[in-house]
Subunit: 244 residues, 2 copies
Amino acid sequence: MATIKLTVEYEGTAYAGWQQQPNRPTVQGQLETAQFQISRQRIAIIGAGRTDAGVHAWEQVASFRTPHPLSPQKWAPALNRYLPRDIVILQSEQVPDDFHARYSARKKIYEYRISLHRNRPALDRNRVWHVHYPIDPARIREAIPWLTGTHDFTSFEGPRSGTTNRMCTISNLSVNEDGNLLIIRIEADRFLKQMVRTIIGTLIEVGRQRRDPSDLPTILEAKDRRAAGETAPPHGLYLLRVLY
Amino acid sequence: MATIKLTVEYEGTAYAGWQQQPNRPTVQGQLETAQFQISRQRIAIIGAGRTDAGVHAWEQVASFRTPHPLSPQKWAPALNRYLPRDIVILQSEQVPDDFHARYSARKKIYEYRISLHRNRPALDRNRVWHVHYPIDPARIREAIPWLTGTHDFTSFEGPRSGTTNRMCTISNLSVNEDGNLLIIRIEADRFLKQMVRTIIGTLIEVGRQRRDPSDLPTILEAKDRRAAGETAPPHGLYLLRVLY
């Protein structure tokens, strides 16, 4: 048996998210089907981040255990032959048997892209959130120190989650401007369901003067989803990298 | 009667190109249909560049003459309400009556994006040409001086063109690298059919050592399409800007 680590890029537009669901196209489902084409054995493929429907990945990480003799580096080209054009394996490698794509991850980095252009985007319509009201990035930057560090992020957790531990440590949160584009990166040891999207939705409300940067501690202390802002749409979100 | 100039962004993936064709979706067709929804009059909309199927535009320019009383700036939001998500009018403005999107254009700038990444792109699969053999950008740069200036570009012209004048002046040609991306920009007073794509295909053959930079004058002098390289695929090409 070998444990194989895959680095996966995908556009999430056509998928009901990462996680396998009956009768709906998912990224995990596509990978498991491709793997079956090669080994003729049904094997679960574990993802580091269970991205929502419409969320993209530049470098998602997945792992699986297989008795198949294919050499580790050959899994990438072999799987790519069976995968659709919007999913690609960038790399495949053998890792120690105790490696688990989700549980072994030390940190994950997400990026969220917001277009502040006057017009809705055509070319990037599935790749950025178009925010058509004025945003002050300086206000968003003022809110950052309140979110970094270790907190209970219950207020930023989406519905129907099975988690009991809501403590997360955000080790880095940055806001960059590139023309009409606002790019927010969040690095943390773990993320609750929809946590990035709720943080982004809340930060945008700060940026448009609907909330103050200093409201953040109160929102965290409330431990209530209703205290935070709207959930930003999935299509501006990218799983950028997973660190082990 | 007012003459209206439109600045148009679109993703060309879903279209059989700019130009109106019976029973096939085209960008011009979508614009003319949207215009009809507003004025209930069939009016031809002229584009500065007749982009091929799959070619994108950041700022295509189009123009039409209309007796409709809608104020010039309002055409953009009005048309956007009827246009599909992959086409957007960025701006509408009134211009003098002798303005013609194609004939009045002084220069057009095209950009071509090539991915040199080891793997095929997933997120950018319809937005870059993936070239999977080694390319030396320095060789491409050496070829540039042979193409800039005024030349007969017959050797770079696609099939079934109605043009008799094949003289074009390339005023700028640049090659930039951005990580694994090679970005080539070409500015000229006019372009023959498929001229950018044939130039790119030929430059890539130079970059991969199949031709020498100094072969370019011979290719131009041949005035024969068979002398130049392959036609690069449409999906890496963007109409960037039109200058008047």
